[in-house]
């Protein structure tokens, strides 16, 4: 049973466009929702994270939108650049579970110049 479902599996966006990746979770005990970015041959790296007490968090061109009632959250990449081409993972963890994360299946993003 996949507790965090991520879509789409792959995404192609033109340079300057908006990339949107969606995740849905089932466990209402989750209270920390990070996004990780992974370049080929590298380990994932934390990109941005949100807690459920806010509906949106923005860091530069990256924004997380969070909908607690729908149990969904999404990553928006504004003005997408070829350098953003990577695999993106959403994740979730429970309160008092440290950083024991449950990951979504990943989205491979390609930004065309």
């Amino acid at each position: 049973q996949q507790q965090v479902k991520q879509s789409p599996q792959s995404l192609i966006v033109q340079k300057g466009g908006i990339s949107i990746i969606n995740c849905a979770y089932e466990n209402t005990a989750f209270d920390y929702f990070p996004w990780y970015q992974q370049f080929p041959g590298k380990g994932p790296a934390l990109l941005i994270a949100i807690r459920p007490d806010v509906s949106e968090k923005k860091e530069g061109r990256f924004t997380i939108s969070f909908n607690k009632s729908a149990k969904q959250f999404s990553l928006h990449i504004m003005d997408s650049q070829p350098g953003d081409s990577a695999t993106y993972f959403c994740a979730a963890s429970k309160r008092n579970a440290g950083n024991m994360l449950t990951f979504g299946g990943g989205t491979r993003l390609m930004v065309k110049p």
Binding site: G41, K42, G43, P44, L46, N99, L101, F103, G104, G105
Partner: protein
């Protein structure tokens, strides 16, 4: 500043062979994890450790063993490798309250 270092980076095994993957972190982190990454399935937790001398099972522990004899090292062992264990393995660590740092991965093929 090395961070999280995994060795080896690549390995090919025959079915039934054994091997150990080494993870070393130089950040004095308490928590360490082993994940496997498979296409379309994200990262799945194999085993983890909350401190030196402690280990616990994650989501997919079968066929793997781990040890944390020293705080800076977390070893993942495969006693009898199977083709289903072909994957990319990632080690990660974090301090008591802090973000997760990943190593660069070990690509393992079991023939």
């Amino acid at each position: 500043n090395a961070g999280v270092t995994q060795t080896p980076k690549f390995r090919v095994l025959k079915t039934g062979q054994s091997m150990t993957l080494l993870c070393a972190q130089d950040m004095n982190h308490e928590y360490m994890y082993w994940y496997r990454q498979d296409p379309g399935m994200g990262l799945r937790l194999i085993h983890y450790s909350v401190g030196e001398g402690t280990t616990a099972k994650g989501e997919v522990p079968d066929g793997y063993n781990v040890s944390r004899l020293k705080k800076q090292n977390f070893l993942l062992g495969l006693e009898s490798a199977a083709p289903s264990q072909t994957s990319v393995y990632f080690c990660a660590s974090h301090p008591a309250r802090g973000k997760l740092f990943f190593g660069s991965g070990t690509q393992l093929s079991v023939l």
